[in-house]
Amino acid sequence: MTIRDNDALIVDFARTPMGRSKNGSFRFTRAEELSASLVDQLLKRNEALDPAELDDVIWGCVMQRGEQGFNVARNMLLRTQSIPHSVPAQTVNRLCGSSMAAMHTAAASIIAGLGQAYLVGGVEHMGHLPMDEGIDVNPALGLSVAKAAGSMGITAEYLALLHGINREQMDEFSLRSHKLAAAARDTGGFSREIISINAHDKNGLPYQMQHDETIRDDTTLEALSQLKPVFNPRGGTVTAGSSSQITDGASAMLLCSGAYAKARGLTALARIKAMKVVGVDPSIMGYGPVPACQQLLQDQGLSMADIGAVELNEAFAAQALPVLKDLELLDSIDDKVNLRGGAIALGHAFGCSGARISGTLLNIMRDQQHELGLATMCIGLGQGIATLIEQV
């Protein structure tokens, strides 16, 4: 395939291992430090890209306060050993879709010819910045939308109810996530993407963390079925086991233009072929990927049959299953969807997730020789985001 000068190319991707937010390995590691050590190591293995030539650093992050406040992208940059002060940085917030939005901004800038090289990614230290603190919901929202739309678990319950998804299906989906993630780990499926990070073990002592600590190898359908519903204790179906895990992690991706790659002799892995972001009713925020993907495919004159691999962010099993159903992916789930597990096993560190699922998609496409891959996620308060990636 020919690469055009203003193609938005993915040069490399890496992520930290995912740490549990509750007493996990990153409990003594700040979000900027986590990001900076990841970035330094990613840049180190891409020496042909001179960090001084980055046009911008765009970091996704949702809870922008405390250590993640005051433009965490810039704070992270200032803590790297590799990026000079002359490179700018911004933090973006599209809730769960933040680092995918960062990718989009960079890709759009490249396509538009505004810049040639970008570092994107994101971070969320949900252990240090709990997601339910520091939020002040406007009561006037009640004039037109459901207050409960602000509670993602309730929207998942609602979506499951509307689509007739039951508890057993959710537990099966969750089990699948853990099994696939464990298998990926054991067969080196994550070896290209995980960069080991200095962390603290359960005794509080420094160690090199190499693997995700969120995957529960030993979980069973029975164990999952015993869990109590967390969002609607009476009659609800969504449990902690069928929700994305609360996690600390960071992801990073290097993007550049076709012209830049050629000039620097960089080998690109893929091209960002198309991007789409849409809105839906806040109360069914989990459904966002459906219109996002449908519109993206339609624009490209493609159908789901043309797509080799799909990464759908597993906010909740109760949300993923209706999405897969309406995207007509349920029958091909085992061939195409989240083949290395998803956020139920790996966690959904908000700001990190968008670049993470895109990078994992890329690695699956490379390993399985797919031409096209689709990464998509639902976003709180009713949005959907999707990215179409093409191997080069």
Binding site: F28, H85, N198, H200, N203, G204, L205, P206, Y207, Q208
Partner: protein, 720 residues
């Protein structure tokens, strides 16, 4: 592999080595000359040990290393530049060798790692601290700067801002703060400390963790580009200069050293540190502060030994619930000793309880105390209008109004309600204890316990041994003061005891200066510039003009020759106008609440009108003259106290004034200041001021002593 008096080196499995610091015959580990020599020998062994794969360092004491042996400082500093340089270079060389060992090093920090102990651990690759451990570089509190690489390694390891904060404040940092600041790598339970450090060492030895990058970082120049370095250091210096004040140069000097050395690697950077250390160490401020440190330790030891025989302090009582009584009740309860607070009026009790409650609330507001703790402390105070329960108390502090007859009658009354073993004390600021003891059935159980206002904030308690006070009574009173978290000086009986006895001549000097036309605001500014926390007019306002006038009368009666006045003092004129000072909002100055509700002093032009009657035409006096006219009477009275044996040593005398009056610490104390001034010049100054009367005179005996050139402190800094 090595066994000395301080260090033992042993082999562990997998080629690991364990160095244990356990200084023979001492309760703590510290770096003295002998220890430094041993460390060099240990390093000889380690450098030759080709099989070694890693080094674990730990302490066998309750604390890791409390620092350099400060007792050796005086001697070393006095020997001059060459000796100081040698003292620094020996250990710097050793710490560099430790840092350069061909193996990873992990140090286990328990208790304290202060000064040289902190610098020792900074030379290691990984630092594992016990929960509860404290780490810090207190050198600037002694008027010096870190000398064994602290200004070099700390900014390179943890950044300029952490280094500035730690070094300029001199504060001990708790382990979790040290972890957040990037100075330690893990905080674990004390029981697991050595095992934990060993686990980390094994990871390092196996290559699972990297130590070289960090070692390189500590040895490299700082990463700041010029643009960053200038702002980082200049803004820090400006901030710290404002905080430390012009009389304490060491904190800013430490930052300057970091700045000068920023572009250099470890070995060159250490030269900057060494040169500045030498300069600071030979200055008067370092001499004064190192001396104070040693005297403070001495004072603490003496108080502890006096108190050790007596520990019976299950319950206490205070009589009178005024400002002092309420303060005493608060402090006792806060420190865990239940206290009965008796007053004759319910209104009084309410005031005392309100005082305690407001102090506690403010702690809660500042996040220093939980609501539950507040309730616990308040519950330890039992307000009462009767003597019920007094039979079971171990010590009673009488804190009623400063009036001999009243105090005597209250003391006689309470004596009938307590056990034969109970110790009675009087919190009086001036009245001789032996006078108060007259009329008591058991005068041997009685002594003085002079608190300063506000009780919770002022660190000093004077314990006064009356003519008939028993050792046991003094011992229990000292123990009580220590339990209340106070510094204790035991003095012999006289009117005013030690602190007020030397304070009132100073106030008298102030009155004379005003009489002679000096401006009280100028005097305040002048004395504050000299180092006092507040000038005499402001201080008198804080003490209270009524209290001042009353105490002066008592003093004048006891020392008529010196303290009787033949003129009406300015503060008397103000007092007659109903001005009581801060307590009723107006004295020399007016006191207003600022926007944050804090009391603020504002100048008042009317004051000049009011005191005009007692003054001659205004004159502009030279600053130096003002200082001497103020300080000489205080010094003369102090010399009399020493001569009369009111206070045992020069060191205790100086500490009492520092803790009791806020005498400027950088001057090292009143007597250390006299040493610096010199005997002959001091006598000359007295002669110059002869016309001012007896306050400006010393006894023949003292005069001879000064003429002979006798100093109060030896060259090394210890009190003679």
């Amino acid at each position: 592999m090595y066994k000395g008096k301080a260090f033992e080196l042993t082999e562990l499995e997998h080629g690991l080595r364990h160095l244990v610091f356990d200084l023979d015959g001492q309760s703590v580990n510290k770096f003295g000359v002998a220890v430094m020599a041993e460390l060099a020998e240990v390093l000889d062994v380690l450098e030759a040990d080709k099989a070694a794969a890693g080094l674990l360092i730990s302490s066998a004491k309750d604390a890791f290393v409390v620092g350099a042996d400060i007792g050796e400082f005086g001697g070393v500093f006095a020997l001059g530049q060459g000796a100081i340089v040698k003292h620094l270079e020996n250990n710097n060389h050793s710490f560099n060798r430790l840092e350069d060992l061909a193996m990873p090093t992990v140090v286990a920090i328990n208790g304290y790692a202060l000064g040289g102990g902190c610098e020792f651990s900074l030379a290691c690759d990984y630092r594992i601290a016990a929960r509860g451990a404290k780490i810090g570089l207190p050198e600037t509190k002694l008027g010096i700067i870190p000398g064994w690489g602290g200004t070099v390694r700390l900014p390179r390891l943890a950044g300029v801002d952490v280094a500035v904060e730690w070094i300029a404040s001199g504060k001990d940092q708790p382990a979790d703060k040290a972890m957040r600041d990037g100075v330690v790598d893990a905080v674990v339970e004390e029981a697991e400390l050595v095992d934990s450090a060993l686990t980390v060492l094994k990871r390092l030895a196996r290559g699972e963790l990297d130590y070289r990058a960090r070692r390189d970082q500590k040895k490299a120049p700082l990463r700041h580009v010029d643009m960053e370095a200038i702002l980082a250091f200049e803004s820090s210096k400006a901030f710290i200069k404002a905080q430390a004040g012009r009389n304490y140069p060491a904190p800013v000097a430490a930052i300057q050293v970091m700045q000068n050395a920023a572009k250099f690697g470890r070995d060159d950077a250490l030269n900057f540190e060494r040169d500045e250390f030498c300069k600071q160490a030979q200055g008067d401020v370092a001499k004064a502060l190192v001396g104070l440190f040693l005297e403070d330790q001495q004072m603490g030891k003496k108080a502890k030994s006096l108190a050790s025989a007596e520990a019976k302090l299950a319950c206490s009582a205070v009589l009178g619930a005024g400002i002092m009584g309420g303060g005493i009740a608060y402090q006792s309860a806060y420190k865990g000793i239940p206290i009965l607070m008796k007053d004759i009026a319910a209104e009084g009790l309410k005031q005392g309880m309100d005082e305690a409650a407001s102090l506690l609330s403010s702690r809660v507001e500042r996040g220093r105390m939980s609501n539950h703790e507040l309730a616990e402390v308040l519950n330890r105070i039992s307000p009462s209008l009767s003597y019920d329960g007094f039979g079971g108390v171990d010590i009673v502090v009488e804190a009623v109004v400063e009036n001999l007859e009243l105090k005597r009658s209250v003391l006689a009354e309470v004596e009938r309600h307590v056990s034969a073993d109970t110790v009675l004390c009087s919190n009086t600021s001036t009245i001789p204890i032996s006078l108060l003891a007259e009329g008591l059935e058991r005068p041997e159980n009685f002594c003085g316990m002079h608190f300063f206002n506000p009780v919770h904030r002022m660190p000093l308690v004077e314990v006064i041994r009356g003519k008939r006070s028993s050792d046991a009574a003094v011992a229990r009173t000292v123990a009580y003061a220590l339990a209340m978290g106070k510094k204790v000086v035991v003095v012999n009986d006289c009117t005013g005891f030690l602190v007020n006895r030397v304070l009132f001549p100073y106030f008298a000097a102030f009155s004379m200066l005003l009489r002679d036309g000096a401006d009280f605001q100028k005097i305040d500014k002048c004395m504050e510039r000299w180092g006092w926390p507040m000038g005499p007019a402001y201080l008198m306002d804080v003490v209270g003009l009524d209290t001042g006038v009353h105490a002066e009368t008592v003093m004048a009666k006891a020392y008529p020759q010196r303290m009787t006045r033949d003129f009406t003092a300015a503060h008397e004129l103000l007092y007659r106008e109903g001005r009581l000072g801060q307590k009723n909002g107006v004295g020399f100055y007016a006191y207003e609440k600022d926007s944050k509700g804090k009391s603020k002093k504002v100048p008042l032009d009317e004051t000049y009108e009011l005191i005009k009657g007692g003054c001659v035409e205004p004159v502009d006096l030279d600053d130096e003259l003002i200082v001497m006219r103020m300080m000489l009477p205080m010094a003369c009275e102090m010399l009399r106290c020493l001569e009369e044996g009111i206070v045992a040593t020069a060191g205790e005398a100086d500490m009492a004034l520092i803790y009791g009056l806020g005498f400027p610490p950088f001057r090292g104390g009143l007597l250390r200041w006299l040493d610096q001034l010199g005997g002959e010049p001091f006598l000359q100054l007295l002669d110059n001021h002869k016309s001012l009367g007896a306050l400006y005179q010393v006894s023949e005996q003292t005069r001879r002593r000064l003429e002979d050139g006798q100093k109060f402190y030896a060259l090394g800094g210890e009190a003679e």
